[in-house]
Symmetry: C3
Subunit: 341 residues, 3 copies
Amino acid sequence: MYSVREVAEKIGAEIAGDESIELKGLAGVEEAGPGDLAFIANKKYLCFLETTRASAVIAASGTTSDKVTLLLHPDPYFAFMKAVMLFHPQKTYAPSLHPSAVIADSATVHETAHVGPNVVIDEGVAVGKGSAVLANTFLGEGTTVGDDCLIYPNVTLRERSLVGDRVIIHSGTVVGSDGFGYATSEGKHHKILQVGRVVIEDDVEIGANVTIDRATLGETRIGRGTKIDNLVQVAHNVRIGEGCIIVSQVGISGSTKLGKYVVLGGQVGLVGHIELGDGVQVGAQSGVARGVEAGKTVFGSPARDISRTMKIEACLRKLPEHIKLLRELDKKLSGPSSDDD
Amino acid sequence: MYSVREVAEKIGAEIAGDESIELKGLAGVEEAGPGDLAFIANKKYLCFLETTRASAVIAASGTTSDKVTLLLHPDPYFAFMKAVMLFHPQKTYAPSLHPSAVIADSATVHETAHVGPNVVIDEGVAVGKGSAVLANTFLGEGTTVGDDCLIYPNVTLRERSLVGDRVIIHSGTVVGSDGFGYATSEGKHHKILQVGRVVIEDDVEIGANVTIDRATLGETRIGRGTKIDNLVQVAHNVRIGEGCIIVSQVGISGSTKLGKYVVLGGQVGLVGHIELGDGVQVGAQSGVARGVEAGKTVFGSPARDISRTMKIEACLRKLPEHIKLLRELDKKLSGPSSDDD
Amino acid sequence: MYSVREVAEKIGAEIAGDESIELKGLAGVEEAGPGDLAFIANKKYLCFLETTRASAVIAASGTTSDKVTLLLHPDPYFAFMKAVMLFHPQKTYAPSLHPSAVIADSATVHETAHVGPNVVIDEGVAVGKGSAVLANTFLGEGTTVGDDCLIYPNVTLRERSLVGDRVIIHSGTVVGSDGFGYATSEGKHHKILQVGRVVIEDDVEIGANVTIDRATLGETRIGRGTKIDNLVQVAHNVRIGEGCIIVSQVGISGSTKLGKYVVLGGQVGLVGHIELGDGVQVGAQSGVARGVEAGKTVFGSPARDISRTMKIEACLRKLPEHIKLLRELDKKLSGPSSDDD
């Protein structure tokens, strides 16, 4: 339980409304009740200011309401992020090695790390200070996990993966599986041994059931601060820059490079051996077959500059009427068309 | 071994043909041999009535054959479902706690439940009567699994997940992973703690390697009787109504709501914060960027009313010829076009 | 450390350049330094011959360079495959049963097999000679794994799966999960028990987090030598022929059949109950709704013959200009159009 003033101070917001209320927790603006703090980061939901039963709502500076106390912040989502941390302190994992964990003699697990039940830690692995490796996870030979990492249950990190500090990896994710490479000769696909590794830099978060293949030679690399959603495929030798956002079910083919702060929408596919410059944004379900210059936003399958795709799309939407007009013109000019269908 | 009369009675079918035969098992209509019962639910396969070596075939009422005995039912797939249960009684799991399972002191596992090898059950978990939790599965702190559930090997249910009765969850699936939410400020993506949970109502079935993220606040909810295929992504705060069918590799973005009996074809993508009304059907690979009213069928990327998409598609199919005609008209009217390419 | 002559002999290449050099390892052409052997299989990278610091480069016969020693081979990727095997002998797993593995009494594990920590092997399982089953993997009742297989950590093979020889299955993959089949009657989706199995023939490799559903009746079958990338969905009763290449995130719906040497690009979706003939190739992100004759290459959603798709695409690219021309023609003929938007 916090006073609205305490909350405002902690999250850096201004109060507009009743300054005397007490807040007991957070809730969605539609579900909230008395004592709850809600938030509106998306304008689409501003209408709920009229009907919410929340005691206070975090909203963008400039928002007004005569129904509910507002906590105003220029970046309401950022203020909300702080409010969640205030009301829900993050779970911590006490230093401990569960007796059922199987830890190789040559592995070094920092004394402040937490290793859960049935975890398997192979030869030569290093786990840094304050890191938690949860139930049933496998760390392959020579893998390094840095400090303050959180590896959820049922994760697989194959041999020689290198994971930085403060990395979060969700359940079911596989890091370091073999890249998909075969030399086909006389009807037989001969496996190319995949002898490179995966490097995951600091502050990366990787969702559930993601697959990140090891490099054929050298490295597959995920840049510092990049966030990857669930069920994403990252092929061998891909290099992802810093601060990228990769939404669910994206597929990135081998050797493709992403600059910094690239954003890929859900279900996007990138072919191999191309480069997307810094700040490129790709709309959901797009198929990108060529490199994209820094700063561009592309969309569609095949992906084009988004304004061009929108223009084509506007024509497509009316294509039956356009074709009808075309036939009428043809009839006027030449008599009945022979292009019947 | 059952007589065709016994089978007909148990599955509620009428016999057309030889009533004296004995049936020893089920087989596909193409692979079946003497003594086998086959089925045809899809008209496309009716031709196999001529060639099948099965002793009897379940088919839709009104079907005729002078080659093979038919078991006629108005809904042959439903009759087939019953026949499978007759010939293949469902596997049961004896009450037992495998000695290798790691079960927290505060967890309550019903005495009739089955807990397989290397299962990890965290503090405060409850597992209901008759439920089976198979090898290497993880149930996080405070998770509740109802009665008569079947949780296959290598599943992860993160903390505070609430699973109803008669729920089936296939291997590799992750329930309750963190939603994908960051507040970006000064080039840093700050993680929004995801403190909600996932609720899975009664009679839901979830395929293999599915990911269902916990809510930021509140709940991600899968409605009663909904069936989800493999490799589907359900983002945070999504609400899926009763009786929906979600085919493989679908992605549903955050906060989107599905009504009852919605059907999503394979690889469909839905953007976040939209609503699909009861009974909406979405064709495979569609991209849905706006809400859809109850009862509509949409298709395409972007998804439109299916008849409109089909009309546009019919024009597209002949687009090169249409454009050729356009150029000819242009030539007639204005001399050689300047729009060469 | 090998002399360039030794390497040339082992990989069957001709030396063009300095025959006296020693090679200590392999590296990518961009990252390589002195003592490294690099390779160029893709013409796109030939430009790096000018700048690479490698001591030698494997390249296609006919390539020339005055900067670096070349190892020339008609199929440079094949020669590279051999070079990787030369410099990086494949990891082997010593015969052993880890004491933490849970192995049913009726299972038969060959004395030369390797079973890792926390592996669970159910009743009636057979594991053949020289096979390795790594940490936390589950082999269900009656499953057979042939000789010289490699099953990575956290894999699930459900009951009665039949795996041939020299099969590789990567982490997180689920083989034999139930097919997605329900008979819907009076608003309830009744589960069709899935009582068939999965058969994986010799020399198949299956990537990470793949799902292959068991057949309703009979078999789901993956043909000899077929290679499947990560996150692919193979539905019940699918039959894949020999030597196919299935790239990441493909979805194949129920009962569809692939001939031999079919290639499916990334994120392709196939509807159920169709047949793709031998040698069919399908471009990335295509949606295939009809059968395809042997030898054809199709592309697009809906998939068409690739040359037709390219022709349509060329028209689409200029559609706004075509429509503008159409309106101008209309204006000339009839005065201002009534089709404003």
